[in-house]
Symmetry: C2
Subunit: 235 residues, 2 copies
């Protein structure tokens, strides 16, 4: 249980895309009353339905955003990795409430920024709004792309998700090169993201491991032959 309240260090924040190009005193304003919180695996950052007083920026590790069905099944909405913002969109609403439950995937850290600071200092800087909207845009685009894959059978769906997650990491590397998914991802989580069962995911991915399209040694998934997965997606 590690949730000591720490003030953020400017030098660390400077590494993040959002704070790049900003002067030190500006960054200090933007982080007014903010603090860093660390989490261990599976620890919960926000709960669905709680009223929101902060938004978060992922400094380290990754977080899983999900909702639950009445029967307790998990539905994963998004994986947030380094530099991503969480719950920024809803903070501008009158009585903001978290639309998802947010859980750490492995040891992770976030910067928590209070609603007041967001509304007074962040909103008056168009360049910041643009960056946040850019992140949202990426997220929206992922959700949309997953909708398009709904009609496809199991294998293309999984291939598409893996490529999507891997693509966020690789800086437009050449095709044919290995890609690594920057998340400790279980089969169950893949299943919960696609709305299918674990068994189905396992059956498909085991085949790929056997054919050496992917590798899944440690807890990270590596895509050895992206071309093959693309082939599968395109049918």
């Amino acid at each position: 249980m590690n949730n000591a309240k720490n003030r953020p260090s400017i030098s660390e924040l400077k590494n993040f895309d959002i704070f790049k190009d900003l002067e030190v005193q500006n960054i200090e304003l933007l982080c007014e009353n903010s603090f860093i919180q660390a989490h261990s695996h599976k620890q919960i950052l926000f709960n669905f339905g709680e009223s929101a007083h902060y938004f978060a920026i992922v400094l380290n590790g990754a977080y899983k955003l999900s909702r639950f069905t009445p029967t307790g099944e998990e539905s994963v909405i998004h994986f947030s990795t380094i530099g991503d913002v969480i719950a920024a969109l809803i903070l501008s609403q009158p009585q903001p409430v978290f639309p998802v439950t947010v859980k750490a995937m492995g040891p992770s850290r976030v910067l928590l920024i209070p609603k007041e600071t967001y509304l007074t200092h962040w909103f008056s800087k168009p360049s910041l709004i643009i960056k946040i909207q850019g992140l949202l845009s990426t997220r929206m685009s992922r959700l949309q792309h997953q909708k398009v894959m709904l009609r496809s059978p199991m294998a293309p769906k999984i291939a598409s998700l893996l490529m999507q997650l891997a693509a966020s990491e690789s800086n437009n590397q050449n095709e044919d090169e290995e890609m690594k998914i920057p998340l400790p991802l279980t089969r169950k989580e893949i299943a919960d993201t696609l709305g299918v069962t674990v068994e189905s995911v396992i059956r498909v991915m085991s085949e790929w491991v056997k054919q050496e399209f992917i590798e899944t040694n440690d807890q990270f998934i590596k895509i050895l032959k992206p071309e093959k997965l693309i082939e599968i997606i395109e049918g």
Copy 2:
């Protein structure tokens, strides 16, 4: 083919939530170089992949936002009705490109606002950004809710979609009251929204018509017994 360029009238705009609470001269600034465009059924407003120079506010009627699979199947992302903004999120990106194809559903009208006006005048008004983010938030929330329904069988999926669409219209009416879906919606469009086949949608909805849960006389769908649909959703 009706795409005459018209200047918007302030008095009409005053009716929309976004422009309420604004002074006339402010509205004029926000509409700098903007114009109204009318469309007939199925006419295209924006094409997927085109570079974006405008965003749109729906004044009248409705628009369907969709993407297409390689095999030409349509996947509906969102239905935009009166007061909704289209393509606002992406306009702040460096080289914005439409992420969906936008098509009129019946005779409709939009106000088109150029990128430059958006970036210079809209972005400097936090209250506007808040309203736009509110609309986006609603949209995101719908997409997320649909993801949660992925694991459910056909009937709950369809019931959930109908209730979602009807809810946007009704001002928190009591349950047990009739609800009307403010869109000329075909079975095919419902199918394309859920990623299922038309036949499946028809089989489920025909049953509901027979049992008088819903009515579908004219081109609009009316929900006669919302309680019944809620029952179906909850299993």
